[in-house]
Each structure stands twice: as structure tokens, then as C-alpha cells.
Symmetry: C2
Subunit: 155 residues, 2 copies
């Protein structure tokens, strides 16, 4: 019998993967007109742990008419908290309940607990790739129609 | 309405806490006789995320008649994987299926996926505190009677 400690490189060892190009979320940007090609905004590598999932999000650096690359963002359908941990790069975590929003500059070696009812989105404000881990209940559900009021532009 | 991003310092913000003194696990050591006092071997700060839990384990440095401080170790009652992430210090992760065991020196910035049926234990082989995060399904269950065959002594 072989007994392997499976080193968790989610980029190589995942159960499912999501790729988001600009065309998958052009409505999320203030103005997505005139962008050349269809850049990959981010990729998510997901591993299934039974009742929860661990996800590595690789969020590229760039802007859409000056607005920083970001995740689609969502709110959970069930009241489920989530954990975010920044592992590479620089960026912000935006959370919002109804029309009240707050953003924080993410720091490595910190965990961020997303409140159960809050919309949440990551924004890459750096010059390089931003990577973060998230952990969430499998039954959380995703509402991608949640409207975020705050936007982040390169100055 | 206040909207807080809850910075995840599990030592201050936890739902439950476990303290393991030597007297709680003296049968796990080869020889626990003659140890003065009843040292705290480790503490676990646990936060509930609905279908899963996030735990920070703070494993002190020391030995029991030369055998390094370690966690009790367990196997899940249900076939549930678990994630370990070292956040401070130095130590080993021991996993075992039946009588076949393997240990690895844990590295920071790596994730370790524990196989569903494997017993697992952390061992602090360093001179300072060892801390690690773990993420596991709430319904995993814990079998603390699992017998580990491998032991780690200060040379």
C-alpha cells in the first residue's frame, strides 16, 4: 500500500477549475468597451473536502478602462461565513451588506472572515498576480447578481 | 449598521477551545513517568463555519522523557480529508494507514491534504512554539484510539 501525503498544490491537483474571461463578466465593469482580445481575468482551482471546498484564486493584474481586474463577486445563498487568506501579491477585499460596503487592503498571514450575508469580491491593485485561498461550505450557494457599489480604478 | 471584516485572529475570536495537558494524553507517550507538573502540551482554537471548522493549534515545545510534544492524533470516523497549513515554528506531520506510516517535515506556504482514512498527528521538533491551521468537515468525527507506531525523540 502506498501512503502519500498529498502536497497541496491546487494548480496541479484540483477537482474542478473555473476560468473567467472578460466576456464572462463584462457587465461587472463600469465600461468594458474597446478592450482588445478577451483577457483571462482570473482562474479558480477548487478541491472538494466533502462538506466544504478549498479554492485557490489566481487573479491577474490589469485594468479594464482603468478599473482594476477583480472577481465577479457574489453573496452566499445560505448564511455561510467564508475564510480568505492572501498568499501572493497585493489587493483588496471588498465586502458589502445591502448598500453599506467596506474594503480592506489584504495582508499575508492574516485570515479574513466574510460575514454570512455579505457580498464579497477581491480586487488586484498590484502590478503582479494576486493569489488567495478561500474556504467555504459546499452548500453556501453563489448569488452572482449581487450589485457592488464601490469601484476601484488605477489613479 | 456596522459592517466588520473580522480579522481572523483565532486566539481572540473563536467559538470553542481545547486545552490538552500531559495528564490528558499521558498514555500516548512511551514513558510519561516522572514529569514535573502537568504541562500544557497544546491548545486548539476552533471557529465554526457551518459545515466545516477552522482550527488553529498551538503546540508547545518540549519533550516527555525525550519524546517531543505532539498532538493526541486521531483518525476521522467518516472518510473525510483534512487540510493542514503550518503557520509558525517547525515540526512534522505524521500520517498512518493501518500499520503503514509516513512523516514529513512541514513547510510554510504549503498545504497538506490528509487522506480520508489516515490517522494524523503533528509533532513539534523545534525549539519554539509550532502553530498550524487545519480545516475539516464538522461531521468528520474523531477516533482518538487510533494507535500510531512511529515515535519522535530528541537525539
Amino acid at each position: 500500500m502506498r501512503l502519500e501525503v498529498d502536497y497541496g498544490d491546487l494548480k496541479k491537483n484540483f477537482d474542478s477549475k473555473v476560468v473567467r474571461k472578460l466576456s464572462d463578466m463584462s457587465d461587472k465593469y463600469k465600461d468594458s468597451s474597446g478592450v482588445k482580445g478577451d483577457p483571462i481575468i482570473y482562474e479558480v482551482y477548487i478541491k472538494d473536502f466533502g462538506t466544504f471546498e478549498a479554492a485557490l484564486t489566481v487573479l491577474n493584474s490589469g485594468t479594464v478602462n482603468g478599473e482594476f481586474f477583480m472577481t465577479k463577486g457574489h453573496r452566499h445563498k445560505k448564511p455561510r461565513k467564508e475564510i480568505y487568506i492572501l498568499t501572493r501579491g497585493k489587493g483588496k477585499l471588498l465586502i458589502q451588506e445591502k448598500n453599506h460596503s467596506k474594503s480592506v487592503e489584504m495582508k499575508k498571514d492574516k485570515m479574513y472572515f466574510i460575514p454570512p450575508r455579505a457580498g464579497h469580491r477581491a480586487v488586484n491593485t498590484g502590478r503582479g498576480v494576486m493569489e488567495f485561498m478561500s474556504f467555504y461550505a459546499k452548500d453556501a450557494g453563489h448569488d452572482y447578481n449581487f450589485k457592488f457599489t464601490k469601484r476601484f480604478f488605477r489613479k
